[in-house]
């Protein structure tokens, strides 16, 4: 009897020691996580970063990331007459302008995306957007002549770059507008900066343009969980998703018409323009979300796909490796979601009435 209770005691002791051991591994987890909210590039920014560093070190790193955004806003803004883009626009049709690395890189990526999308995305669409913004603000619609004049001034083929620091827009009165690509580029730049500073896990949310890396770091978990990124429901308040995507690495970038539009004479005019027609997009697509490892390209393609429509976009996606997309359309009986087959298993509907259909494009 004595021998057996000793053995019982030993067994209980071992189990307790084992449990205490498991708990203490969770306690001494060296990974720290810091989040920071702010407003930059005309939008709400949130960043979360995890690393084997102190919280104050992480704070400093995120402070630096916000500094990067401010720098890029100063270079890319079309509202700021002192930005590099404004300088290229002011010299359009006249002369070359010296630009920084960031501006060179974002313009180079924009030209590539414009070629890929055959002009459905165009960084030189500024003449069109400016015309519509001005007219809609006055409660008017531009006349056909004005529209064709603006379309004539839109041509990415006339935007020339000279490595490493020159740009020339050879259209008199033409204007670059990086609205469809600046935030994607900025999130890529912030992601690279965080990596360089040994951040192992991060989420960067630039006004709904989301980039993630390293999976979601959770206390004491050896294996990281994927990040859960929602795709906005067109008819619900900000933050209410139609689908949720699980993703550890990459960018989730949405272009949508449900949020920013103006009404003139009972008709809705969105802020996304078809550069070739010189008019706001007007189809059944409510939004397009592009999922890719290249946030800059994802941003440009999300805009291009809104212009091209779902079927043409799916055909183009068949030749772009590593890129997936989610199309949210408005139909007679509610919203429907079509996604590329690459997202099967990681994209789930979050509203009961929504059906997600997967399309095999490869």
């Amino acid at each position: 009897m004595k021998k057996s209770s000793l053995r019982h005691f030993f067994l209980i002791f071992c189990s307790l020691a084992g449990i205490v051991g498991i708990f203490s591994i969770r306690m001494i987890d060296p990974l720290k996580t810091v989040s920071r909210d702010g407003i930059s590039m005309d939008t709400v920014v949130r960043m979360t970063a995890s690393a084997a560093k102190t919280e104050s070190e992480l704070d400093e790193i995120l402070e630096g990331a916000f500094g990067l955004l401010e720098e890029m806003e100063k270079k890319f803004s079309t509202h700021d007459p002192n930005s590099e883009i404004s300088a290229v626009n002011a010299a359009s049709g006249a002369e070359w302008v010296k630009i920084s690395y960031d501006t060179y890189a974002v313009l180079a990526s924009s030209i590539n995306a414009a070629r890929l999308a055959d002009g459905a995305f165009d960084p030189t669409v500024g003449a069109v957007t400016l015309l519509w913004q001005k007219k809609l603000a006055e409660g008017k619609i531009p006349e056909d002549g004005e529209i064709s004049e603006a379309v004539r001034k839109t041509d990415f083929g006339k935007l020339s770059l000279s490595a490493p620091d020159g740009a020339f827009l050879d259209i008199s009165g033409g204007a670059i507008d990086l609205g469809g690509v600046a935030k994607g580029y900025a999130s890529a730049a912030v992601r690279d900066y965080l990596r360089k500073n040994d951040v192992t896990s991060a989420l960067i949310d630039l006004g709904g343009n989301v980039a993630v890396m390293g999976g979601r770091a959770e206390r004491g978990e050896a294996k990281r969980a994927p990040w859960r990124v929602g795709i906005q429901h067109p008819a619900k308040p900000r933050g209410a998703p139609i689908c949720v995507l699980e993703i550890s690495e990459g960018a989730v970038i949405t272009a949508g018409v449900y949020e920013r539009f103006r009404e003139v004479q009972g008709r809705r005019y969105t802020h996304i323009f078809d550069p070739r027609a010189g008019r706001p997009v007007d189809g059944e697509l409510e939004s397009v979300t592009v999922v890719s490892n290249d946030p800059t390209q994802a941003d440009a393609l999300s805009t291009a796909f809104m212009v091209m429509g779902r079927d043409a976009s799916l055909r183009l996606l068949s030749v772009i490796p590593g890129t997936d997309a989610v199309f949210v359309s408005r139909g007679a009986d509610g919203y429907s979601v079509t996604a590329t087959a690459g997202l099967e298993g990681t994209l789930k509907p979050s509203a009961d009435e929504v059906l997600v259909e997967f399309a095999d494009v490869r």
Binding site: I22, L203, W227, R228, V229, R238
Partner: protein, 122 residues
């Protein structure tokens, strides 16, 4: 010698059950909805939704906002030029937010829970 001591197995079973319960419980807070008002990245107000007055007023360098928390949260008044925050309507669920960009103000509902989303792309 008694080979199967029921007390011993009861204790072992209890320890096992407790350690299983610990995993899902860890990291999960209460289920109470919290309203948070953030201006320019700094939290200006944060309280459980059940404890806030029906009307909340905020004055900042850019202007004035009034938030109603009767049956959901909505912006009822703001002196910003666009009024997008008022048109944003009522939010009721965790993760939803109203943004007044000109006043650099965000109103959001949050809830501590394991199945939350980390972000929403829009």
């Amino acid at each position: 010698m008694k080979r199967y001591d029921p007390a011993l197995y009861a204790i072992l079973a209890l320890i096992f059950a407790l350690s299983c319960a610990y995993v899902p419980l860890a990291g999960r807070g209460g289920g109470e909805m919290t309203i948070e008002v953030v201006r320019d990245g700094k939290t200006e107000f944060r309280a459980p939704l059940g404890d806030v007055p029906e009307m909340l007023e905020f004055r900042g360098p850019e202007g004035y906002n009034a938030i109603s928390s009767v049956e959901g949260v909505r912006m009822v008044s703001a002196d910003c030029p666009g009024g997008d925050c008022i048109r944003a309507g009522t939010i009721k669920n965790a993760g939803e937010s109203i943004i007044c960009l000109p006043h650099r103000l965000t109103v959001k509902l949050t809830k501590e829970s394991a199945s939350e989303m980390d972000a929403v792309s829009y």
